[in-house]
Symmetry: C2
Subunit: 238 residues, 2 copies
DNA sequence: ACCTGAACACCGTTCAAGT
DNA sequence: ACCTGAACACCGTTCAAGT
């Protein structure tokens, strides 16, 4: 933890005067790094201030309250999503690109992902993504009524996919990680196969993500295919 | 807030001796009610103790720490899901029933929903749901490799659907709610239509859930249809 | 404009002690 | 077995004051 502090902070030994000026962005970035390293609950006003070599109350010049700091963390990741180029006559492919772009940015930050499903509409960056998604759903020919809710769900579930990735939050040290996975695996294998046949059968997949790329590819396809099929059914009704 | 306290607690005026004995279940239920009424951040060890007319440290007889209390809240909702009966020769319909059963239980508790995507595998009740879902995916004929990750995602995104419902966390008082919705709607309409054409077009749907039942029905169909189509493609390849 | 210092109410948790 | 009381380290936030 001292070791982590040294990596995240910037005050090795009393370099107190020449502190690079504070800013919203510096604080948000540091908060995300802190969440990545030690989890969301380690992100406290006082801890963050200490890492910047500043009084806790200094943060309140840049944020109205802690909630706004958390909003800023979510917004920052939404901002970093690079929107794919348009694909005329292939709304499904483009939609997949949009969701994949979101996943690509969020994947390295599974802890921050937990903040995002409820904040899609809370920033211009999130709205930009929402707008793109809704436009594509309209292009798909879906009925106008449910489009808003569907678009919101697509973005939310894409980030939820990251938060729910099996094996997220396991120790990153390979040694410790292996041990933790084994313990988890054993706990599944200890279940009565009579009551949990499938959990026992797929214990390895639930203990850790066997192939993360496959996990994301398959589930993104699932979402896009669902939209595609629903749209297709509108044109060739039962 | 005093008013809420009176409803959630059980000490109107000094009824101190005849306090119905504490238990894990009583505490978990009270915690869920508190989250429903005032949000997840209102759920503190001390607040909960006060509502039960008990010393804060009393909770530590029943829970190792606060994390375990939160685990208990998520577990409690998973426990309340009533599994649908089997549908031989209709795995898709049965899968939809399972996910719908989860949604039905979680819908009244959107705040608690935020705890659940990361806790699907953390309790027997969650594992029971997972087992059922995985069994159905196997019945669908999906390749074994990604089934674990898909099942986990289906359950996670079902509860994420609740957490992301547009208009969640709005005041329940109809008067206040209407005001809040109007403000939200206006903020969307104030966006430049050049940059946010779709958000402007669907502003009403994003401000509040026009028809919650439709929201859930459509998005659940989306998930199930996605699985169905993917499975079908395996039998009639390109 | 940007930050400090003191102060306040509240938080999770421990541990020894009571019944 | 179940709960209290005292104590500790930490938390978010306010406000007046400094530069």
């Amino acid at each position: 933890m001292t070791h982590v502090t040294r990596m995240l902070g910037r005050m090795a030994a009393g370099a107190k005067k020449d502190r690079p000026r504070l800013s919203r962005d510096v604080l948000v970035t540091a908060a995300i790094a802190l969440a990545d390293a030690e989890g969301l609950e380690a992100v406290t006003v006082r801890r963050l201030a200490q890492l910047q070599g500043v009084a806790p109350t200094a943060l309140y010049w840049h944020f109205r309250d802690k909630e706004q700091l958390l909003d800023g963390m979510a917004e920052h990741l939404f901002t970093e999503v690079v929107l794919p180029e348009a694909r005329p006559d292939d709304w499904a492919g483009e939609l997949r690109d949009v969701l994949a772009a979101v996943v690509a940015v969020v994947r390295p930050h599974p802890e921050v992902a937990r903040l995002m499903p409820t904040r899609v509409l809370a920033s211009p960056a999130g709205l930009r993504l929402t707008d793109r998604a809704l436009g594509l759903l309209r292009a798909a020919g879906l009925p106008a009524g449910p489009i808003g809710g569907i678009g919101l769900f697509l973005l939310s579930s894409s980030v939820a996919m990251v938060a729910a990735e099996p094996g997220r939050r396991l120790p990153k040290d390979p040694q410790e990680r292996e041990d933790a996975v084994r313990v988890k695996h054993a706990s599944f294998m200890a279940l009565p196969p009579r009551d949990f046949p499938a959990v026992v059968a797929f214990a390895d997949q639930l203990s850790d993500c066997v192939d993360p790329d496959d996990y994301y590819a398959f589930n993104l396809d699932l979402l896009v295919t669902g939209i595609e099929r629903t749209a297709a059914r509108l044109h060739e009704p039962a």
